[in-house]
Amino acid sequence: MTSQPVSGRLRSRSAKLRAAPVGALAIPVVVIAIVAVTYPLLPLSDAGAQSLADGLRPPAWARGGSWAHPLGTDQLGRDVLARLAAGARLTLVIALLGTIASAIPGIMLGMLAGYKGGCVDAVISRLVDAQLALPYLLLAIGIQSVGGRSLTVLILVLALIGWAPFTRVVRAEVLSLRTRPFVLGLRCAGVSTPRLLMRHILPNIAGTVLVMATLQIGTVILAESALSFLGLGVVSPQISWGTMLAEGRDTLVHGWWVAAVPGAAISLLLLSTNLLGDALRTRFDPGNKEF
């Protein structure tokens, strides 16, 4: 009998979590977005100003830190807080555009493969396999050696890295959806294939896609930091959290905060986008609506 109240409590806790207002979960994302937009107006020191004498100052709360540099300085004496704020803009832009650019072709190809089946499916599935087998850094180096280095090329590289997982998951979802009686019913009612895909199947996979997209934001940010580390992504003097993370690796022993601060910011962004994605999915699921 004792298991009853425990599972009951668990249930009510998870119910409470589900019911958590979307607004609360969006706060970190919104704050980061506001900082990204209003950064030039914020009372922060210049993100690019170097002062070698002030190199590797720890954060304010650690021994030797001061409030002049609340989150410390990097090896060139640049204020980490100012760089964090300055990097938010490019990070968000890359994360959003990179995710959208990989999601849209990924979803389209997945729907096509899942719905059409046959040789269309075979070709697209082999493309997915090929993409997943190809080391993405090789791909990135190849493209950038041809296309040069710019934000557009970076987004293109991120899209080429990220479309395949979307295609795989969407294909599987559509494969199971297309045999559902309501799809058969709509086909019998004469609803055309494009309309069926866009109006009926797409909304039914939207929940999965939304959750995948929030996870993809994390992958994109990390991929961008890896590319930046190799000098293929964002390069100085432009700042993104990925480049900050990459630069911080050099000083991990003497100045952990240089990498830890952008790392924590990335984690916060990922966590809140993931929770937000989950909350949005629950919010728009009509199964939770009362009659």
Partner: protein, 262 residues
């Protein structure tokens, strides 16, 4: 009366890894306006293959080898013919009550989706009236109609959902309605409701109906004619009383005996 649909000498086969397998062997029957034809047979006898041949949604590995299908006098052969008849001339109701409606769309929008597709010439108000009319015809009261239009499928009971599925099939005023095992998933009282509803729908118009079922008792209470199917062949066609009281074929006798022994 004129036939709303006729199937002549239909042969369908499926390609499998071990070669072609015949699914239908020369099936022929007619459905006249104002009558309900029962298509009966055990699982695997080819009932669904006939339905899918008529609406042009055969499985990918199956194809029509020979024979003709015509609906409202129109000979059906190419995909473009199917596009014309699907929904507009043939309405279909399927078995699964829970899954036969889009779970993410309110009932009103689903009905609109189908009506808009087929009634380009109709004014917006006429379309709305048609939608309300179709729900009223399947037995919803005026107050219920408003509630149902705003509801998502999961908010309705199984019987209500199946009535909505019937409304969805008849909202375009098709000449032929195909009911494919549409009462099999319902409890007995709801089944009786739906059967009564189907009978009214046919009696009140010049519609024809193909009622597909494995339930001989149900078919005999609803249908005026029966087509008995076994292993892809029509073994018996005739008026319901004749088939039930004087079954000519051994298979029909066995089917009847199996029903009685339960």
């Amino acid at each position: 009366m004129a036939a709303v649909a006729s199937v002549r000498d239909l042969h369908v086969s499926a390609q499998t890894s071990s070669g072609a397998v015949a699914m239908l062997n020369g099936v022929s029957f007619d459905i006249d306006a104002g009558e309900i034809v029962g298509l009966i047979g055990e699982s695997g006898s080819g009932k669904s293959t006939i339905v899918r041949s008529i609406i042009g949604l055969l499985e990918k590995n199956a194809r029509i080898d020979s024979g003709t299908i015509s609906v409202v006098g129109r000979h059906i052969s190419a995909e473009s013919d199917y596009r014309v008849i699907r929904g507009r001339h043939v309405g279909t109701v399927f078995q699964d009550t829970g899954g036969s409606l889009n779970p993410l769309m309110r009932i009103g929008r689903q009905l609109r989706e189908v009506v808009n597709h087929h009634a380009e010439g109709l004014a917006k108000r006429a379309r709305a009236e048609r939608i309300r009319g179709s729900l009223a015809r399947v037995g919803f009261s005026e107050e219920q109609v408003e509630r149902v239009l705003r509801a998502y499928p999961h908010q309705l009971s199984g019987g209500m959902r199946q009535r909505v599925a019937v409304a969805l099939a008849v909202v375009t005023e098709p000449e032929l309605v195909i009911a494919d095992e549409c009462t099999s998933a319902l409890d007995v009282t709801t089944q009786a409701d739906v059967v009564r509803l189907l009978r009214t729908l046919v009696n009140s118009s010049d519609r024809g109906m193909l009622f597909v079922t494995h339930d001989l008792a149900l078919a005999s209470s609803l249908c005026s004619r029966l087509v008995v199917l076994n292993r892809g062949r029509v073994v018996e066609v005739g008026a319901t009383e004749d088939v039930i009281s004087r079954p000519a074929e051994a298979y029909t006798q066995a089917l009847l005996a199996a029903g009685r022994s339960l």
